[in-house]
């Protein structure tokens, strides 16, 4: 009898695992400072949940904590893809508080911002190693993509076999060059967009569903 009960329990456990809904995948939005990560996170969150993720700013390191927006349901071709968006602080290898002084900040505020920024970058790296299932890598298409931070981060993402979608943001700017990003990272698909203007978001959502669904 005990054996039969155990067998029945095992079958029911296996069946519930098979048919239970999968947990939403955590998709980290990564990239250098000022690439437009929070603008993109807010655009996705507003389009599908009505809420924003966090404040946007032209001052670097506005996002100094990883912020998660849970259960963002994206609908494509009648299918629903549920993801958690993790907006992360821009990754860098250096933070100099004097750069914030140029944005009309007092020294105390600049020092505090730089300290929070360093903590945020360390946090972002930790999330990347431990806690994300896929990555949206955002680049400013109006700047040179051949930077060490981009090279290292894309190498780190590849080494962990995480699916990665490269987004060439800010195509609304005159200096934008999507091809420059395609040339820099030919091993990945690059999707152009303007998160600020909402340009080409349909293709972005198609690709999110394809890569992370």
């Amino acid at each position: 009898m005990g054996l039969l009960t155990n067998l029945k329990d095992s079958i029911s456990r296996a069946a519930s695992t098979l048919f239970s809904e999968e947990d939403p995948k955590r998709i980290g939005i990564y990239g250098p400072p000022n690439a437009g990560k929070t603008t993109l996170a807010n655009r996705i969150a507003r389009d599908w949940t009505g809420d924003a993720v966090g404040p946007e700013s032209h001052v670097p390191h506005e996002t100094r904590r990883a912020r998660r927006k849970e259960n963002v349901e994206i609908e494509r071709d009648g299918k629903k893809v549920t993801i958690d968006i993790v907006d992360t602080p821009g990754v860098t290898t250096k933070v100099d508080y004097t750069e914030f002084l140029e944005h009309d900040m007092e020294k105390d505020d600049a020092v505090r911002r730089s300290r929070e920024a360093t903590e945020g970058v360390a946090e972002a790296m930790h999330w990347l190693r431990e806690d994300v299932d896929g990555v949206i890598y955002v680049l400013d298409s109006a700047t040179d993509p051949f930077t060490q931070v981009n090279t290292m981060l894309i190498g780190i993402i590849e080494s962990q076999d995480l699916p990665v979608l490269i987004l060439a943001n800010k195509i609304d700017l005159e200096e934008s060059s999507v091809q420059r990003i395609r040339n820099a990272y030919p091993q990945h698909e690059t999707i152009p967009l303007s998160a600020l203007e909402g340009d080409n978001m349909d293709e972005v959502y198609d690709k999110i569903a394809e890569y992370f669904g």
Partner: protein, 127 residues
């Protein structure tokens, strides 16, 4: 590392062989790099770091940044990672090659002038 001369004489460059790095644990490598860089040295690694070690180097660097004292690091390697090209079998067997010359220095002393797939050009200044 060898005894440092007066920093006013010039910039010390430490070229570290792959053989020397191979015997070290990840955190020992990171400590050795950051200790050198914080002394104002330029550290050149013959074989570079693994992606995981690079990720930890960024994390530890961030925890050590201190206003008016240490602004972080400048690091340069060639963009192409051989690890990404390794076959699935090699990766399963742990045979990922991460060999890529890597230059690391204090952020306030080293400035990258040009970088592409085959050339890194940097300007190094005294403290």
């Amino acid at each position: 590392m060898a005894e440092v001369k007066d920093p006013d004489d010039g910039v010390q460059i430490d070229l570290i062989s792959g053989e020397r790095m191979a015997g070290l644990a990840s955190m020992e490598k990171i400590r050795m790099i950051l200790d050198g860089v914080r002394d104002g040295n330029i550290v050149i690694l013959e074989e570079g770091l693994s992606p995981d070690e690079e990720s930890r180097l960024i994390e530890v660097t961030m925890t050590e940044i201190s206003p008016d004292e240490f602004n972080g690091i400048e690091i340069e390697t060639y963009p192409k990672s051989e690890a990404a090209d390794a076959s699935i079998l090699d990766r399963l067997m742990g045979k990922q090659s991460t060999q890529k010359l890597t230059v690391i220095g204090p952020a306030n002393q080293i400035e990258t002038l040009h970088k592409d797939e085959t050339l890194i050009s940097a300007l190094v200044s005294r403290k």
